[in-house]
Point group: C2
Chain length 242, copies 2
DNA sequence: CGTCTGATTGAACTGATTCAACGGATGTGG
DNA sequence: CCACATCCGTTGAATCAGTTCAATCAGACG
């Protein structure tokens, strides 16, 4: 995982020792998941922490009647469930969006890591807080914004998060979500997402398709989304914003 | 605060020493806030942890154009922002719904408390995780449920949380939210909340008014809300469910 | 009393859903 | 290499849940 930049590194300056510690753990047990398979299912007892290496995952809640809401995405460099060892059972599922690989870090190793490096421990708490902040932002997104604004906001968030871990290429990035994924993330139907995306393309805000997203003018997109990056709490060290 | 039951106590069995430690801190600096005033404003640097003693508060996000989304409520016994000392600035505001009093716990005292009691430290992490889980549940609530279901779900959540800290009285509880508060918590207009509440009353699901909520048949309400209490992660010790 | 804030009602409107069909790309097995 | 299936994106038309605007009403409070 030499090239991998951790999302933690947007929160804290990790020493080379810290990185070595983490890399050693990450090498121990790498798992692969096929696209659209679940990593963890609601009701499971959480067993381990996952460091995302490649591919995208989503957290989602499924209702008895089949409705489904995505409540967050995870991209490479993200650390999932660093706190959930405390919890008895998962209240939602995590599914692979693409083919995906992650490093499974056992609880004992994880606790040892925290004990060894206060910087890492602090970054982990930060990570948890940011996850919660993202969830709150999503509430506001789905609760108050129009379809057009919601999608714009989601694109902004994901683009900035990808940028923070070095996964953007100028004004574009790999973007594997289908319109159905987008729909269940922003609480709309895929039909309406489709029509809204057409509108956004017409307005020159973005190009979307073939698993790539291009945002020619990020500032313009932020403006229509009323996007304020403060909730990502980036920029403690490198990474972002700008 | 002899009578106060902490929401933490739904997660961990606190020893009498733990409680004494907390009570001593809580006595140090008690603050009062008038209804509809802000405790913390977006952009502020968080300074202290707040232990809610009396009254209700809400977390909310306000957009430049005036739209407003409530992203969570806090009731007596809740501990707010136990993690936010790490964060540079608040990404949302906290406002008093009612007249309210809380104990402000300084960071130094707080860190000392954590260091002294591993049980409390663990309960605090649990508390943070539950807050995040609630936010995710709200995303699903606003994203997927109908107006009728959304309100039912919110009532279920608040009733159970109140019950967990001993603030319910059989099938009823003190409930100071206005229809406008409800509206901006579930992402609807107050007009539509009003009409939906009338429907719910007609269906015998609840009585609401005069700052009291009565739920004659909680199971029925849960059913229409598709409410699953798992995300509250109660029931480690006393409190709940059932 | 007069003034607020919050609850209630009505009527017109609209953003988003629903249902149903079709098209294009990709993959797979024979 | 074709036949078939599947997944995803696209389109149209009808419908509906929730909004908007505007007026009225009721209780609370100085």
């Amino acid at each position: 995982m030499g090239a991998l930049k951790l999302s933690l590194e947007a929160f804290a300056e990790l020493s080379s020792q810290d990185r070595t510690l983490i890399e050693r753990l990450a090498g121990k047990s790498v798992r692969e998941v096929a696209p659209r398979r679940d990593l963890v299912r609601e009701g499971d007892r959480p067993r381990a922490v996952a460091l995302m290496l490649e591919g995208w995952a989503c957290r989602y809640k499924q209702f008895p009647d089949g409705r489904r809401q995505i409540v967050g995405f995870h991209i490479p460099g993200d650390l999932c469930d660093s706190g959930l060892s405390i919890v008895r059972e998962m209240d939602h599922s995590i599914g692979a969006v693409t083919r995906l690989s992650y490093a499974e870090i056992g609880l004992a190793d994880f606790e040892a890591l925290i004990a060894q490096s206060p910087v890492v421990a602090r970054a982990l708490r930060w990570n948890e807080l940011v996850n919660a902040a993202i969830a709150r932002e999503w509430v506001a997104n789905v609760g108050q914004r129009s379809a057009y604004e919601r999608l714009a906001h989601l694109f902004c968030e994901l683009f900035l998060r990808l940028k923070a871990v070095g996964l953007t290429d100028g004004e574009s990035c790999y973007f594997p979500l289908t319109q159905m994924d987008l729909a269940s993330a922003v609480g709309l139907t895929s039909v309406h997402v489709n029509r809204t995306l057409q509108e956004m393309r017409r307005d020159g805000l973005l190009t979307f398709g073939f698993k790539r997203l291009v945002i020619p003018d990020l500032e313009a997109l932020k403006r229509v989304a009323m996007f304020n990056a403060n909730y990502l709490h980036l920029g403690m060290s490198g990474g972002l914003p700008d």
